[in-house]
């Protein structure tokens, strides 16, 4: 099954070409997955600068691993496993605290950034920003694995099996993580729904 899946995985084919020294294929992989990896990491750590630094490490690791790459799993599963490890390590190193500070800073900056060009929408705009801030806080407050599972499920539209592969757990564990995470979000966001 793994071989059949890999045969259909265009990314794996590109990675095999990278292994053979094809720089164009590495560039193609970067273009295909740059945004999703960076966005996943932004939502994991809550800070764009930290997220982009981590994303650089992720793609560097992909590049370094090219000579030993073997398409035993779907490429994106492997890629997000690397990204998840990078995020979890960063969070354990305390970068999430800086991320949280950054989020606070963003919140303080938000009213100033909203130049009141259209006066009737200022209040609506501020309310929307407050709600968005609440959403981000609710997601960032989830336990790390639950957060990663939700982000891959919601924003990357990954199937349970691929999330399981990225998190290194079973599909049933992923279902449990997602159920608990979405229930927590429902409770926290109930007031604003």
């Amino acid at each position: 099954m793994g071989g059949a899946t890999a045969a259909l995985d265009q990314d794996a084919e590109l990675m095999l070409r990278v292994r053979d020294g094809d720089s164009v294929s590495f560039d193609a992989l970067l273009r295909r997955h740059r945004s999703s990896v960076v966005h996943f990491l932004i939502r994991m750590v809550g800070n764009q600068a930290v997220a982009e630094e981590l994303a650089q490490e992720v793609f560097l690791r992909v590049y370094r691993s090219r000579s030993s790459y073997s398409p035993t799993a779907k490429f994106t599963t492997w890629l997000f496993r690397i990204a998840t490890h990078a995020a979890l390590n960063a969070l354990r190193d305390g970068k999430h605290e800086r991320a949280q500070e950054s989020l606070d800073a963003v919140s303080e900056d938000l009213p100033a950034r909203q130049i009141p060009d259209a006066r009737p929408s200022v209040e609506q705009s501020m309310i929307r920003q407050v709600r968005l801030d609440e959403i981000r806080r609710a997601v960032l407050a989830l336990p790390e694995k639950q957060r990663a599972a939700v982000l891959m499920h919601k924003y990357e539209e990954m199937e349970y099996s691929r999330i399981a592969g990225s998190l290194g757990c079973s599909e049933s564990a992923v279902k449990s993580l997602l159920f608990r995470a979405y229930e927590t979000l429902r409770e926290r966001l109930a007031a604003m729904a």
Binding site: D22, S23, V38, H39, R43, I135, Y182, L189
Partner: protein, 174 residues
Amino acid sequence: MSHLKCGDITDSLLEFVAGRLDGAARARVDAHLEACSACREFVDAHRAVWQSLDAWEAPPVSPDFDQRLYARIAAERSWWDRLLEPVRFATRHRWPIAAAAGVIIVAGIAVNRYALPDRSGPASQPSISQAARQGASIQLESLRPDQADAALRDLEMMHEISESPAGAPAAPPM
């Protein structure tokens, strides 16, 4: 069909909310929801969560992301680049890999034998450049054929990257 227990479709409800169920599975959930107010309430509440999460749009990636990445790759591989300078010509002209690897080994031996200072001379305080050359020659001689092969591939890739325009990812024509 519509008399499924809630426990039978619990796993499907989140996928239903996400709109990722196929026709038959969606119809089963629809039928159950018509008869089960508790599950209907669950679905409505999680639809609200789902829509709230839609509001969190991630900002665009910095325009210089690729440039920074390729600069880091180039910096990381610059040791190989310097080491394999003598074989660039060979790789560009499609010499057999074995011949190119041979050039590396011969270059290493030559550097070791002729370019390094006389080892029988005063041993006190060798200069930094002497130490670096000694280290390079040891690394050259220790290359195995597979390492040389990998190094040549690295060299070609990094050469292509370094020749691409600043800010643009390496994308030579196929």
